[in-house]
């Protein structure tokens, strides 16, 4: 029987510190350290390397407890991108357009951010980059009207994936949460879209507030999946642990830069390994 590595106070403190510095949050970090401590005492890893592997596995398991990603259905799929201001929605759509087109999908974009200066122009440039059609109207138009038009155009052209950009908004702005609900309602009820999804884009440099964002956006429109952006910086995005302990949803993609190709499928083990530093 090999000697197990020591699971002492020093180990727990160092682990908690690594988690806290990664934005895991105080109460979730304490919970996770307890879980790891009891599992480690039970499994008795033989050395530091085995212990580290065990920690990564436990963290990855929490992340994978989210529901598995739903594959796109046959026919028209509409994905509405939502999230707080500056989180990376428009850029992520630009990246997704290229990725899904390369997979053989007929992609179209809808510029439903009719509020912010040059928002449609920004998305238009991304549409040109992957050579996909885009439906837009002038600034100040009703975002639901743009969504409706885009769905009609998507059907007319036989598109199977319509990705809709929306204006950044704080989850505390109830009128803007209602606006999101209206866009969804128009797509599902008025335009009869059967495969509608809403993805919430989270900026990994944000701390505890991301938890509130998931909670409150989710109360307005069910969150089908998360995208975590700006993971090419020094932020670790640890807030997803508290999120996934509360709600079941997949993290679809991770943004790792500002270019078209800077989007990776989420990998729970790699994410956990990076988090521990």
């Amino acid at each position: 029987i090999g000697r197990a590595v020591k699971i002492d106070d020093e180990f727990c403190e160092r682990l908690e510190e690594a988690l806290l510095l990664s934005d895991v949050g105080a109460s979730t970090a304490a919970l996770i350290v307890d879980e790891i401590k009891s599992k480690a005492m039970e499994k008795r890893p033989a050395d530091a390397e085995a212990l580290n592997a065990l920690v990564v596995d436990i963290l990855a398991e929490i992340l994978e407890s989210g529901a598995a990603a739903e594959p796109l259905a046959p026919g028209l799929n509409v994905v509405m991108m939502m999230g707080v201001n500056g989180s990376g929605k428009t850029t992520t759509i630009g990246k997704l357009a290229m990725r899904y087109k390369a997979e053989g999908r007929k992609v179209m974009l809808a510029a439903c951010d009719t509020f912010r200066a040059a928002a449609s122009e920004q998305l238009e440039i991304w549409a040109k980059r992957s050579d996909v059609p885009i439906i837009r109207q002038r600034e100040g138009a009703d975002p639901s009207a743009v969504m409706y038009d885009a769905i009609q155009a998507a059907r007319a052209r036989g598109a199977d994936l319509l990705i809709a950009d929306t204006a950044g908004r704080l989850h505390t702005q109830s009128n803007l949460m209602r606006e999101l609900q209206k866009i969804q309602r128009v797509a599902v009820e008025k335009a009869g879209v059967e495969n509608f999804r809403a993805w919430l884009v989270l900026d990994s440099t944000i701390g505890r507030n991301s938890y509130n964002q998931v909670q409150q956006f989710g109360q307005a429109v069910p969150v089908d999946a998360l995208v975590l952006t700006k993971m090419d910086g020094t932020a670790r995005g640890g807030v997803v642990f508290s999120i996934l302990k509360e709600w079941r949803m997949p993290i679809m993609f991770v943004g790792v830069g500002e270019k078209m190709e800077d989007l990776l499928p989420f990998n729970a083990s790699e994410f956990s390994r990076a988090l521990l530093g």
Binding site: L20, D23, A26, E121, D203, T205, R208, K230, T234, E258
Partner: protein
């Protein structure tokens, strides 16, 4: 809230109505939790807790306050102290135009803040010129052009120039030739670990010597705030703008950034409209962090 939890701690420990080693330990634990939950950086929290403990244990017993009130006062005073005094005004340069440069991470709110500053300063009677130095982000130049139009200030961009240092120099010349009081330079969002981009912002600053280099930080920023602030500070940051404080973020990033740079928090962004820019009030911030 923190003050309610403190009340509970000191009440159940009863005691002789003064702060002791034992009742302060639990209060410090609660404080640590509150600050971490408010997104204050882990290292900053450690330092702050040590300061508070020292102050609490060394404190003269104030007969008029209960231990709960006394501890809370120590925490509040230390937080306000750490956040720096209020009303660090925006400076005016020695000659026209005064140049302000905005920098920071991607999506933090620089372009929008530029618009807010433009509106605010032109209402004070200044002739304001805005120039974008973001030649990377799709439609960034167009965004600032529209923003300048909406805030009624002039916009300058030398068509065809794709070198931010050269664009900045031309903007200064244009501002001088046309008697502008204030030139606002909006830069591209950049990662503090992107050496090439950090070198670019250093080069721009060295070329036009702005009176204010404002680091624009998203108010919802978590632990990373210390890394961001520490890396940007050496380029010559003179002040901080904390944006998106109209949400429900506790704003602990304010403490982290102030601690890491020592630079004053000059402005707070409180919305997307161009009048949503307020001056910084440390006591209001403290209530928010401790909530």
């Amino acid at each position: 809230s923190f003050t309610e939890k403190l009340g509970g701690i000191f009440r159940k420990l009863g005691g002789k109505g003064r702060i002791t080693e034992s009742n302060v330990q639990e209060a410090l634990r609660e404080l640590r939790f509150t600050l971490l939950d408010a997104d204050v950086n882990f290292e900053v929290v450690k330092k702050f807790i040590a300061n508070v403990k020292e102050a609490a244990m060394g404190e003269e017993v104030l007969k008029s306050l209960t231990p709960h009130q006394q501890f809370f006062k120590i925490v509040k005073d230390n937080l306000i102290d750490m956040l720096g005094g209020e009303h660090a005004a925006l400076a005016t340069g020695p000659k026209k135009p005064t140049v302000y440069l905005l920098c920071g991470l991607q999506g933090s709110g620089k372009t929008t803040t530029c618009g807010k500053l433009a509106g605010q300063q032109s209402k004070k009677g200044k002739r304001v010129l805005a120039t974008p130095l973001d030649i990377y982000r799709p439609a960034a130049i167009e965004q600032l052009r529209i923003v300048a139009g909406k805030t009624g200030v002039s916009f300058f961009f030398p068509e065809g120039d794709n070198d931010p240092v050269s664009i900045a120099r031309k903007a200064v010349s244009h501002a001088e030739d046309n008697n502008y009081d204030l030139l606002l330079l909006d830069t591209a969002g950049r990662l503090h670990v992107d050496e090439k981009m950090m070198e670019e912002v250093r080069a721009i600053i060295s070329a036009v010597n702005p009176t204010e280099v404002l680091l624009v930080v998203d108010g919802m920023t978590g632990q990373d705030a210390v890394n961001i602030a520490t890396s940007f500070d050496p380029v010559g940051v003179t002040g901080i703008v904390l944006t998106k404080m109209d949400g429900d973020t506790r704003g602990g990033a304010a403490l982290s950034v102030k601690y890491a740079t020592g630079k004053p928090i000059k402005l707070i962004g409180t919305g997307e409209k161009f009048d949503a820019l307020e001056s910084f009030h440390p006591d209001r911030f403290v209530s928010r962090i401790l909530d």
